[in-house]
Symmetry: C2
């Protein structure tokens, strides 16, 4: 980087005083002389609050720099309409629980919230979250009031945030052009194009769920017909197909169990799902020419059963001769992608401009917080400490 | 901009010495005192060569800064396979004709070429141009050899370049998120997302022509079925629909003539075209959330007949309640969009870093070149001189 040791030293000291980095001795001393210390994210330094309001659960986490989950909690929630006031109160209880866990001296930079809906990023206003039954809700303001904490609250779309997390430390690492397709009740896509998140004029880009894939297909509750979501959303999957049509599995678990047992009805349903997923994915590949595409949510669970049908449609329906292969597969961060993405969203201003983080007067050593972990975030924990750089830059 | 008059003056002098800008007196003197000169692009200063290899024509132009066409020529070419050697030789003859027109002291910075196909930008290698019958052709190198001129030759996809031109001085001005949909034998899209051209990993983004819109539709020569191009490309339009199916208009002119006379067969064909255009456009709007979408090529000519069908499908098939209206309409620069975009491509390195343009030792006044203009480029000519800034910045 063309700066000398003294300059690096004073920069590191400044960043450390803001709770951003810390120095550690390298695990192995490679040669003679005093070893250069490694600089890495300060695990018990600055943190953010992350929350995910999902269609069937609510999660809250305290996340440190580098994507390390310090403490987290996820609770199941009923599907369908949930009054926003109840949900925000529940979120407040979870946040207070997590904060008690990490102790009063934990410093927070900001809070990030993931939501399955259309969000206006600048003020965290939710225009529409159909699967929660919310419309025109000033979510950032309401959560700020509930928490009563002195920190900015940022809100993002779940698929966008999952894409951000997978791009930073999951299936999209090193891919400047990356698509993260997320299936729950609906379908969303988070898209990284040329290294930047696709936003669109109003921040609503990536609403692939209501793209028409079957113009004369089933009616969709959006008023259209044959939307991608109508053909391969969770509801369509449970509805069954062929002999299974109308048999209706009660949940994804029962469908996947039947598929694992080789039940023809389940196999037919998943073959059909793979075909429709592949048709839509092929279109996205022609449009975006990505290096990788990851499937998350329900689709990550389906993936082993739909993989070959997806790849067959992609091979048949893309301008394939002219493109290198696209790395298609399930997400790496499991179900916590959107939650970790909400943390990335909250950290973003600090990464952009570290001087926006206030200094601590003097750093006092304190005991390590208890690391309670609920849910699957092993991958993130493992990778959290790896973004290290030798201090002799 | 926080710089004083002296600094501005020396910058302007430097840019003028490179043939980039010139000073002019303002047309109206708004007040007392010495009027501040206006700084604008130097019309007879630096120029580029622009060429468009289209499916049924070949065009060459000398273009000045600001998109002013100094001289241009377009010749018709037969449709279908055209040997690349013949085409490049013809292009060479057109270039030499244009260069003779502008005189030997015209300075050129670079050449830009538009082609209806998949292009690898860094080395101007054409991977596939199906409607010309070309594959794996080092076009930039071959044109360089043919012209024997000491300037870089850059190659781009026609829809990408038309989008660039429309974004710079056409239907996409001021739109950070803009789609230019181009219909000829095939369909291509040039996409501006967040103010930057969407490229994809290999530069092939925007290949919307083979996105599936009708999974069980007609077979496409690409091996798939129901591609957008198969439903609403030029060939599909001339094939007719309903009563007109198989009647086959001989060319777009005869179809549009029949439509203008209100012939039911033509009307049915164009209604169908509008429906399929609308279905695909609605998908692009959900995916990109653009501020504007412009239709070019054949679709600009069809537009008056398909407008209402497009808007009806867009209203029905987008997540409309959550988005502001999208400005949908024909392109502004007519058929010269790709040619003007090729000029933008050639100028881009000079705009990015003006010091890349060599200085002239001393600028000698010379007679204005004759401005021969073939084809429709009035809009560009009118707008060419308007990108001016008051020198007292």
């Amino acid at each position: 980087m063309g700066v000398n040791r003294t300059t690096v030293g004073s920069l590191v000291t400044d960043l450390a005083s803001r709770g951003l980095v810390e120095e550690r001795l390298p695990p192995d001393n490679p040669g003679p002389g005093r070893p250069s210390p490694l600089v890495g994210p300060q695990i018990d330094g600055l943190a953010v609050l992350a929350a995910e309001i999902a269609t069937d659960s609510l999660a809250v986490a305290v996340v440190g720099l580098g994507g390390t989950i310090v403490v987290s909690q996820r609770v199941s929630r009923p599907r369908g309409f949930r009054p926003a006031t109840d949900e925000i109160a529940q979120l407040g209880r979870l946040v207070r629980g997590c904060m008690a866990e990490v102790g009063a001296d934990q410093r927070f930079f900001a809070a990030g919230i993931s939501i399955p809906g259309l969000v206006r990023r600048p003020d965290g206003f939710v225009r529409l979250a159909p699967n929660l039954g919310w419309r025109d809700l000033p979510l950032a303001d309401l959560v700020s009031q509930e928490l009563g904490l002195d920190m900015p609250v940022l809100v993002g779309n779940d698929a966008d945030l999952a894409a951000l997390a997978e791009h930073t430390r999951g299936a999209g690492v090193g891919q400047a052009d990356f698509i993260c397709l997320w299936g729950e009740a609906g379908i969303g896509a988070g898209i990284i194009a040329g290294g930047r998140q696709l936003a669109g004029r109003d921040g609503y880009a990536g609403e692939v769920g209501h793209v028409t894939v079957n113009p004369d297909g089933r009616p969709c509750r959006c008023g259209s017909r044959g939307c991608w979501e109508t053909e391969v959303g969770e509801e369509a999957l449970l509805r069954g197909e062929g002999e299974a049509l109308g048999r209706e599995w009660t949940c994804m678990d029962s469908l996947l169990q039947a598929a694992a047992e080789g039940a023809p009805a389940a196999t037919a349903t998943l073959d059909r799902a793979g075909r429709w997923l592949g048709i839509g994915i092929a279109g996205l590949i022609d449009i975006f020419n990505p290096g990788a595409l990851a499937l998350g949510g329900v689709y990550a669970r389906l993936y082993p059963y739909v993989r070959s049908a997806i790849l067959a449609e992609v091979a048949r329906r893309t301008v394939g001769t002219s493109q290198g292969p696209v790395d298609i597969g399930p997400v790496v961060l499991g179900d916590d992608g959107a939650l970790l993405g909400a943390a990335e969203l909250a950290f973003a201003p600090a990464i952009e401009d570290p001087t926006a983080v206030p200094r601590r007067e003097a750093r006092q050593p304190r005991p390590q917080p208890a690391r309670t972990a609920v849910g699957r975030h092993t991958a993130a924990q493992q990778q959290g400490g790896e973004a290290e750089a030798q201090r002799t830059a």
